[in-house]
């Protein structure tokens, strides 16, 4: 297998090259039954991926080593096991700087160990994809699903998308490369799912055939030249800013940070197209009880919606699909009818509650209730959600 085997029509593994629209929306699909880790392999198989570096970690090690199998099978160009997550995130940065479409995956402790890399990724404007299968953060030691780690990722300058289930994970990985590599975006993409609830959960999923794949990444469309000695060295300068303590050095750093965040915002039209909206809503559109959630919490909210309907209470679920960029306009529009906004979460700090509260501050009359919250790997029973809703809407009577 060599990159030289690639033609205009086919990639190096012989898959026919197709557009993202075709792969996501037009190609015929067949039903499969697989886990989040397995579907990660299936998505990457169809993405003409140049490079991946992995480190084993529970609960996502399957996804990481399944990418290795893709390399052995000739679908992924380059692959190896790194020494730890800090090393891996630097190694994939090197791959992406050198012009390779690059993916890796980690979880919880690995995310925190690698943390210094993520703002470096966005500052370097590399469109690397990190598939984050959220898990609790030590201590005490845990490998259970808890998405506290996402709060640490929020201000790294990376795009953050949240997939609800196995199907969404598949589609988001494909859309993720496409949006991240847009020349006017060109920032890293973190595709999050809840560990176990998605990574290890087997469910039905519709997949296109595996003889088609995304067009290859073209590093020469990037806003910064790849580090490959094929273009003039765009990053050499006479006057390194780090040497100075003056307004120019401050302004350079500040403006670049603004630019990274603006690049994330510029992904909005592309994300709207490829994700079919930054938020998805279900339930009664004019309900006063509104759930705002992402990931598995939105699944649980949908179950609560069904139970509330039986009780004669209208409710609506607003599922956020992008966290960065945060879908301010969509959220405001989707919560217009709300008197009560519940934000169910799988972590103890309520990071999504904070995001929602901040976004709607001064714009919505609704009472925002950051409940229920479960953590440490607990499931979120529908009863817990119903309990919160009934407590609040029948304040005097109680649940």
């Amino acid at each position: 297998m060599s990159i030289k085997d690639m033609t205009k029509e086919k990639n190096w593994s012989g898959q026919k090259l197709v557009s993202t629209d075709y792969l996501l929306f037009e190609a015929p699909r067949e039903k499969h039954f697989m886990t989040g880790s397995e579907v990660t392999k299936e998505a990457i198989k169809r993405c003409t991926v140049d490079a991946s570096v992995s480190y084993p970690i529970t609960p996502q090690s399957e996804a990481a080593h399944l990418i290795g199998e893709l390399w052995a099978e000739g679908y992924v160009g380059m692959y190896f096991r790194g020494e730890n997550e800090f090393g891996v995130m630097s190694e994939v940065a090197g791959c992406a700087m050198a012009g390779a479409r690059t993916v890796t995956t980690t979880s919880g402790p690995g995310t925190l160990r690698a943390m210094e890399n993520f703002p470096m990724w966005s500052g370097t404007r590399i469109p690397v994809q990190l598939i984050l299968m959220a898990r609790g953060i030590n201590s005490p030691l845990t490998i259970q699903p808890d998405n506290l780690e996402v709060t640490f990722m929020l201000e790294t300058g990376c795009m953050i998308w949240y997939a609800e289930n196995v199907q969404e994970l598949f589609d988001m990985i494909i859309a993720g490369f496409t949006v991240a590599e847009m020349p006017d975006v060109h920032v890293p993409i973190v595709t999050v799912v809840d560990g176990f609830f998605v990574s290890h959960t087997r469910e039905s999923v519709m997949l296109p055939a595996d003889d088609i794949a995304l067009m290859p990444y073209d590093p020469y469309r990037a806003p910064l030249p790849p580090i490959d000695s094929e273009m003039p060295p765009g990053r050499f300068l006479r006057d390194p800013f780090v040497m100075k303590s003056n307004y120019i050095s401050y302004a350079t750093h500040a403006s670049w940070q603004w630019e990274v965040r603006s690049a994330v915002d510029r992904s909005i039209p592309y994300a709207r197209h490829f994700l079919k909206g930054l938020v998805h809503t279900s339930g009664d559109q004019d309900a006063e009880v509104v759930f705002v959630a992402c990931g598995t919490a939105s699944h649980q909210a949908k179950e609560a919606n069904r139970e509330l309907t039986k009780l004669g209470i209208k409710s609506k679920v607003v599922k956020l699909r992008t966290i960065r960029p945060f879908p301010h306009a969509e959220l405001l529009e989707a919560t217009k009818s709300a008197k009560y906004i519940f934000v169910p979460e799988f972590n103890i700090v309520g990071w999504l509650d904070k995001e929602v509260t901040q976004s709607l501050y001064g714009k919505s009359e609704a009472k925002i209730i950051g409940r229920p919250r479960v953590a440490g790997g607990m499931s979120m029973p529908v009863e817990a959600i119903l309990h919160e809703v009934l407590e609040h809407i029948n304040e005097e009577k109680g649940a």
Binding site: K4, M78, E91, G94, A96, D228, P233, F236
Partner: protein, 364 residues
């Protein structure tokens, strides 16, 4: 790609800074003879520098850059510290990302470039200080050796965290008083050049930057071996004159002192690498030894003569012989009317690289 990426678009030439124009007009690139002698009259790839006056590290970097066998296809990965202040001045693809992760980034770059450009040689060279290489980045340095990454790692050992104001590092000699070691360092200097050997480096050399040609020779050997066999390591003493109380003119003296002490020469070459160097010397003897002998990658011979003495024939014979042996060769004679005893000049050019130059040759 090639040196063409350093060619200036003629439309913009009149607005380009002089140092950029000089890179096109007067720098040496891979197809020409490169070496320490370039420091006297060629445009260097380092434009000024922002280190302290007299800093041996800046001199060492200049030697290294003149020794790169193929700068236009060399990517330099560096780290945080004094070295990071110089890298923006280098006219090559350079990367600074974080403190200590340089060998991890370099591994990713090298592997991605091998995948993307299977038919090209792209050298990846890590240049970082002792803090980055041996302390905070030790894991990534050693792991890249374990994995046999085909990169060259050069550690500028100044035995101190200089950029942050003079704190003890693992590379500081035992007993030395620095910040964070107010009673003197309690453990020995880390013997990184030996760790490199036990960790799988094909080539590990410890030396000071006191002798430019020695530095250049080691750099070229290390890069050639890394291309073919695996990781190579150079441990280079570049003292922080500021932190050990020397003046700007005393760096060289300090390095010469340490040539006999902590930095007494250490050189490990794996059997495989030694065999490869020998082979390389045979095939490309002129390239390998250009900095240490009279041999060059191109030789120009000028033969002034009088008609009938055989200079024209001699030029053709010399070129034909070289061509037969697999070298590049061009001979061309100049003469006027073909009269006996009329003045003539014949030129022969022999090289290990393609020769484009024709006509009179006045510098040999």
């Amino acid at each position: 790609m090639s040196v063409d990426i350093y060619k200036i678009n003629p439309e913009f030439r009149d607005i380009m800074p002089k140092d950029i124009i000089d890179l096109e007009d007067n720098a040496t690139w891979g197809v020409e003879k490169r070496g320490i002698s370039d420091l006297t009259d060629k445009k260097e790839l380092l434009e000024e520098h922002s280190l302290c006056a007299g800093c041996p590290e800046s001199a060492a970097l200049r030697y290294i850059l003149t020794a790169l066998p193929k700068p236009e296809d060399t990517i330099i990965v560096n780290s945080t510290g004094c070295t990071s202040l110089m890298f923006p001045h280098i006219a090559l693809h350079t990367v600074h990302s974080l403190f200590g992760n340089q060998n991890a980034v370099a591994s990713g770059i090298k592997r991605a470039l091998e995948w993307r450009f299977p038919d090209k040689v792209k050298d990846v060279v890590v240049l970082a200080g002792d803090g980055a290489t041996i302390d905070i980045g030790l894991d990534y340095t050693l792991q890249s050796f374990f994995r046999q990454e085909k990169i060259t790692t050069i550690c500028f050992d100044n035995e101190v965290y200089a950029n942050t104001g003079g704190q003890e590092s693992g590379s500081t000699p035992k007993g030395q008083v620095f910040k964070m070691a107010p009673k003197g360092k309690v453990f020995d200097k880390v013997r990184m050049w030996e760790l490199a050997v036990t960790s799988g480096c094909q080539y590990s050399v410890k030396l000071t930057a006191s002798a430019p040609k020695s530095v250049a020779k080691v750099v070229r050997e290390a890069i050639f071996i890394a291309r073919e066999l695996g990781p190579t390591y150079i441990h280079l003493y570049t003292p922080c004159i500021l932190e050990i109380g020397l003046s700007a003119s005393e760096g060289l003296w300090e390095m010469k002192e340490q040539d006999k002490d902590r930095f007494v020469s250490f050189k490990y070459v794996s059997d495989e690498a030694a065999a490869y160097l020998k082979e390389l010397k045979k095939i490309r003897s002129s390239i390998m030894s250009r900095d240490t002998s009279m041999a060059k990658d191109s030789i120009k011979i000028r033969m002034p003569a009088l008609g009938g003495q055989g200079a024209v024939t001699a030029a053709h014979i010399a070129a034909t012989a070289a061509d037969t042996e697999g070298y590049y060769a061009v001979s061309n004679p100049f003469f006027g009317a073909e009269k006996r005893m009329a003045p003539s000049e014949s030129y022969t050019r022999l090289a290990t690289v393609p020769i484009f130059d024709r006509g009179g040759s006045y510098i040999s």
